[in-house]
Symmetry: C2
Subunit: 113 residues, 2 copies
Amino acid sequence: MRKYSISEVAKELNLTPYTLRYYDKEGLMPFVERTSSGTRWFAETDIEALKIVECLKATGMPIKEIKTFIDWCHEGDSTLQQRYDMFLERRATVEAKMEELRKTMETIEYKCS
Amino acid sequence: MRKYSISEVAKELNLTPYTLRYYDKEGLMPFVERTSSGTRWFAETDIEALKIVECLKATGMPIKEIKTFIDWCHEGDSTLQQRYDMFLERRATVEAKMEELRKTMETIEYKCS
DNA sequence: GTACCCCTTATAGTTAACTCTAAGTCAAGC
DNA sequence: GCTTGACTTAGAGTTAACTATAAGGGGTAC
């Protein structure tokens, strides 16, 4: 059960320590342990959680909304429904975005000829 | 051959006059005529051109790159190849983006279960 | 003749998501 | 004991794409 420093995690996720501290400040990683002197000490599970954060970010979800999601995760099973609803909403958003892109490319393709 | 004022065009394209003047300043509409007193006087074809600008924007193309495209349009047929190349590149970008969204949603869908 | 819409320049504010610096502290490794 | 890398707070800077205000002026319509 190795633990990781902030720069190791940054490297693995292709981020910078600055960004990770920023995420922490924004409440996206309230789970990370600290050593007695205050150094962040990431577990594998923390890195997995951050990968989900990156996934949500990749769908265009703003950081504040991701924070809500993370908060719900910490409130336990009572928020399962809310999280599922958020997922459905996000899926709809992404599908709408993809549909718009598809249509836009069609238009451009048409204009190009 | 009606002509349109800036706020009529803004309304039709769901933008604001501020935004249109901003686009003008950024060089996205060097084609728009002016009255003797300096008022912008949009033709139908100008609105069509702006619709293409909106399309390109919808694919995530930054304004500076759109300006390049507009400039090429004004240079005439000698830039046809460049414009086509830009289109191909844009299509590739959009397709990559869509592919990433698809994969991301798959991952999230998996994590959700 | 006044209201409304257009124009300009210049400048400042907004939002999101970083990105970085400064100034000072702490702890581990060689 | 010095270097390295972690930490903190506070704050400034960056980028994109607007969005808005101020201050001044011009033209058209009722």
